[in-house]
């Protein structure tokens, strides 16, 4: 398999000495291009730390993140900037991840400017309008402030901002957990559509097995910083091998 992203024996540690918290322990996984890879586990199991290490917001203690055959930790400034275009992130909290005092369109233009996408402001404004259409928002809404949008709309804006850089991989850290169930379905539909039309790969971090089952092809189950089980979503959820996966499945309320 020629993976888009390979994580090899990754360890993430917070703090030093006796107080150190080992958030991610020897995690290895691989994501293929155009695949939605699920990562499930309870709060505090290290899912978000793994996501941060992958996008290099957190420097891992050991292990490697390999993207398109290149070791992410060895990137210099300009390579890192390219990497920032290729791998993007959507956070759980759509309220907090937009700069409150900046019109959302300007926030996206800011990103385009930094990465020198588009020749001038007019061209970038056009690009913003296209992005808004792509994620199902009215283009003229781009000139409003974040507080004028609902949670689901904000998450769409965050996705639009991530798409502005035309990434190959989107790390979605609990992208729907903060949203109403009806809105969740819309966003998941959007993600699936992006996968289908753009060949975008996802690392879909979630604690919600039902959501993961819906959208992911393969899934890894994380417990106490370790991946305890990994495989196609049908195998893992219908025929769990590890005790923790069974517990997690039992915890899903059935009506």
């Amino acid at each position: 398999m020629n993976g888009l992203l390979k994580v090899e024996k990754l360890n993430v540690v917070y703090g030093h000495g006796e107080d150190a918290v080992h958030a991610v322990k020897d995690v290895s996984l691989e994501i293929a291009p155009g695949e939605i890879f699920g990562l499930v586990g309870e709060s505090g199991c290290g899912k978000s730390s793994l996501g941060k290490a992958i996008i290099r917001l957190k420097i891992p203690a050991s292990g490697k993140v390999v993207f398109k055959e290149n070791d992410v930790s060895k990137f210099n400034r300009s390579e890192l900037k390219t990497y920032r275009q290729e791998v993007q992130l959507v956070f759980q909290d759509p309220y907090g991840s937009l700069t409150p005092r900046m019109k959302v369109g300007n926030a996206i233009i800011d990103v385009l400017e930094v990465h020198r996408i588009g020749k001038n402001t007019a061209e970038r404004r056009e690009r913003v309008a296209e992005l808004f259409e792509d994620v199902g928002l009215e283009p003229e809404w781009a000139w409003r402030y974040p507080h004028e949008f609902s949670g689901g709309q904000r998450q769409r804006i965050c996705i639009a901002r991530a798409l502005a850089l035309k990434p190959d991989l989107l790390v979605a850290d609990e992208p729907v957990s903060a949203l109403d169930v009806s809105v969740q379905a819309d966003i998941l539909e959007l993600l699936e559509e992006l996968r289908a039309t753009r060949g975008l790969a996802f690392l879909f971090v979630s604690h919600d097995l039902a959501v993961v089952r819906n959208i992911c092809a393969r899934v890894a189950v994380m417990f106490n910083g370790e991946i305890v089980e990994t495989g196609p979503v049908a195998d893992v959820i219908d025929n769990p091998q590890h005790d923790y996966t069974r517990q997690l499945l039992d915890a899903v309320p059935s009506f």
């Binding site: 920032r84 992130l89 907090g96 900046m102 800011d110 930094v114 990465h115 965050c158 901002r161």
Partner: protein, 273 residues
């Protein structure tokens, strides 16, 4: 209440602009303005129809000098802010954003500044500056009063640095300078605006004290000099110069302080969300 204060601040601002106009006019025409003209026949006249606020010990109109005092107070307030606020904001941003050694150094620097008694430090700087007059006042106040703002900005930046939108900006590949000044700074601008409106009257007050002590303004009608000269004859019943200058100072400081509070209420995103 806030509107009354805003009205007062606008009124004082217009007075200051008018005062500057009068000052410039006389400078260009190269004539001594009436508020500087000594006329011993008219000394210590109580408030009346010609001199609404009376005259001082050298027969000069108190009201005209008071207006010139507004001009000087504004100059001190604005210029010291232009010195102190950039220092405080830039150092505070750097310390809060980068942390580590940068933070250690800046905290050490402002702790050193803060450990010296304020007025003594200001006076020391003013004494060192060559030539007496306003330059010493500007530098003295400007270089010593950035500490409080720096501390506030540092704390706010530290708080914002951990927020998701800053993490998102980093993940999007935005540079530190852009994140600090374009993304974080607008979110803490209320701190700066409120600080400005609160330190403005403090700077005016300090200037009055410095001039009163004879280290500030020389030869121009600053409020400090007016209070200093008025105090000599106060016990003889020459109350008007002292009274009107003090009322003006009181109103200016009060208006700015209340306006500062109102601005904080209006601008703090946590209060009106």
């Amino acid at each position: 209440m806030a509107m009354v204060c805003l009205g007062l601040v606008i009124f004082f601002t217009l007075l200051a602009i008018y005062g500057e106009g009068v000052y410039r006019y006389h400078e260009i025409k190269d004539i001594t303005p009436a508020y500087q003209m000594t006329d011993l026949d008219k000394m210590y006249q109580p408030p009346g129809s010609i001199h609404w606020m009376g005259t001082d010990g050298l027969g000069r109109d108190v009201m005209a000098r008071l207006v010139q005092g507004v001009r000087i107070a504004y100059k001190v307030g604005i210029i010291t802010s232009l010195i102190a606020i950039p220092i405080g904001v830039i150092l505070g941003c750097l310390a809060g954003f980068f942390g580590g050694k940068v933070d250690d150094f800046i905290v050490w620097l402002y702790s050193t500044f803060a450990s010296m008694p304020g007025l003594l430090f200001i006076l020391a700087i003013a004494m060192v500056v060559p030539g007496k007059g306003l330059l010493g006042v500007y530098l003295g106040i400007g270089l010593t009063t950035w500490v409080g703002l720096c501390r506030l900005v540092r704390g706010e930046v530290m708080k914002h640095k951990e927020q998701t939108y800053v993490q998102a900006a980093k993940a999007l590949g935005l540079g530190s300078g852009r994140i600090m000044f374009k993304h974080i700074l607008p979110n803490i601008s209320h701190v700066i605006i409120v600080t400005f409106s609160l330190r403005f009257p403090a700077a005016v007050g300090t200037e009055v004290i410095m001039s009163f002590l004879g280290i500030g303004v020389q030869g121009e009608p600053s409020w400090g000099l007016m209070i200093d000269s008025a105090r000599m004859r106060l016990w003889q019943g020459m109350w008007w110069e002292m009274t009107f200058v003090t009322i003006a100072l009181f109103l200016l400081v009060l208006a700015f302080n209340l306006l500062g509070d109102a601005l904080r209420d209006a601008l703090d995103p946590r209060l009106n969300d």
